[in-house]
């Protein structure tokens, strides 16, 4: 059946098939092989060239390569410079809830607690009743661990206020107390040991050289309180 169909199909197109079969055969040109050999030889010659030979032949690439090298070097140098931190422009990191994240001693371990960070020069006095820093201060006091002494809490809060541009609209009683606190005769951890010696805040020591700054701040606070009472 298939053969019959195929036969019929071939018969149906026998004229076309015969015409196509009788088409003159077109051959390759006489120089076909010669041209082919020439092309293959040139390809092989190109293949054999080493990378550097190829590279040096392309003299037109030299300016482009030089320019790209300069650009790469410039980019590298620029990146290196940008990685160096500018100490004058960087803002010290503030950890508002440091008391929450770790134990009570974490507060006093922060480098921000140093009195140099709470210099009177940096204090900006603002007269306002409701300042966002009040909220922050309250929050930090609320979150501060119970085992911290009054001095620690007050110093920490004063520090935060300093970093956030302290607002002295409301009297800071804790800080005031802490600055006027008398030395504890027991001299336990987190207590003021001796007026003349280092202050021990559970592992963190006030360095004596900062005492001068503390005194200055204390004097400043006194003057402010006096002004306020007037």
């Amino acid at each position: 059946m298939t053969k019959i169909y195929k036969k019929n199909e071939d018969e149906q197109f026998c004229d076309i098939i015969n015409s196509l079969k009788q088409l003159p055969k077109v051959g390759a040109s006489p120089d076909f092989e010669m041209n082919l050999k020439r092309r293959i030889n040139s390809l092989e010659h190109k293949k054999k060239r080493s990378f550097f030979y190829y590279f040096t032949l392309r003299r037109s690439l030299v300016p482009t390569l030089a320019l790209s090298a300069v650009v790469i070097i410039t980019l590298l140098l620029t990146n290196r410079n940008s990685q160096v931190e500018n100490q004058l422009t960087t803002v010290p990191e503030l950890k508002a809830d440091s008391g929450q994240s770790s134990g009570g001693n974490s507060l006093v371990k922060e480098h921000l607690i140093k009195p140099e960070n709470i210099r009177a020069d940096n204090v900006i006095i603002k007269k306002s009743d409701n300042h966002p820093s009040d909220h922050l201060q309250k929050q930090s006091e609320a979150t501060a661990p119970a085992d911290l002494s009054a001095e620690e809490q007050s110093v920490a809060s004063s520090q935060k206020n300093n970093a956030k541009q302290l607002d002295f609209g409301q009297p800071d009683n804790d800080l005031d107390k802490s600055l006027h606190a008398k030395p504890d005769p027991d001299g336990g951890a987190g207590q003021y040991d001796n007026p003349g010696s280092n202050v021990n805040f559970g592992g963190f020591n006030f360095i004596p050289e900062y005492d001068q700054d503390t005194d200055q701040l204390r004097a400043r606070m006194d003057s402010l309180n006096k002004l306020r009472h007037r």
């Binding site: 199909e9 197109f13 004229d15 076309i16 098939i17 015409s19 196509l20 079969k21 009788q22 088409l23 003159p24 055969k25 077109v26 051959g27 390759a28 040109s29 076909f32 092989e33 041209n35 082919l36 092309r39 293959i40 390809l43």
Partner: protein, 194 residues
């Protein structure tokens, strides 16, 4: 006694070229296939120069990528596949550049080699004209039909070989051949009615 290279089959020659890098084996294969491939590509593309370029590219590809031939395939189908793909690319390139001209008669006339030199002048002119008309008709049918019709009716390849060359299913090949023939018949109707 070892056979000479010219006595070897296509597959033996390509194997020789692959294993021992024998350039003579390659040259013999080029000699065997340059004419059939030129004829196929000429019928497909439509001009002699383009066909020569495509066949040369085919031979260069065959030379450079000889290792891509696998011994289980027939060499003829492999080389026809390369030529067909390159011919299709050439047609696409021409279409993109809008250089395709259906009626490029003068070049064709020069490139034709009429093999039957014993024929009478009238018959010669007649057959020449007829072949020109058929070639023009071939150009007018779709590429997909033209390819398989040429492989089947001009190059005398079997259906299985055409399947290997085109990578199509046998049913698709048969239907395309049939449709191509129908289109050709319509185009060549005036000749057969005379």
């Amino acid at each position: 006694m070892r056979k000479s290279l010219s006595d070897l089959t296509d597959e033996e020659l390509i194997s020789e070229f692959q294993v021992h890098d024998t350039v003579e084996a390659y040259e013999i294969l080029v000699k065997r296939y340059k004419d059939p491939l030129t004829n196929f590509v000429y019928r497909f593309v439509g001009d002699k120069d383009g066909a020569t370029d495509v066949v040369q590219d085919t031979m260069i590809r065959f030379y450079l990528h000889k290792d891509s031939y696998k011994s289980f395939a027939k060499f003829s189908t492999w080389v026809y596949t390369i030529a067909a793909n390159l011919a299709k690319n050439e047609l696409k390139r021409r279409k993109r550049k809008r250089l395709v001209s259906i009626h490029s008669g003068n070049d064709e006339e020069q490139s034709f080699d009429i093999t039957d030199t014993n024929a009478a002048p009238d018959t010669l002119a007649d057959s020449e004209m007829k072949s020109k008309i058929i070639q023009n008709a071939l150009k007018k049918i779709k590429d997909v039909y033209r390819e398989v019709v040429i492989l089947r009716d001009v190059q005398d390849l079997s259906y299985d070989e055409i399947v290997e060359v085109t990578g199509l299913a046998i049913g698709t090949v048969k239907s395309r051949i049939n449709r191509g023939r129908v289109q050709l018949q319509k185009l060549l109707e005036p000749i057969y009615n005379e």
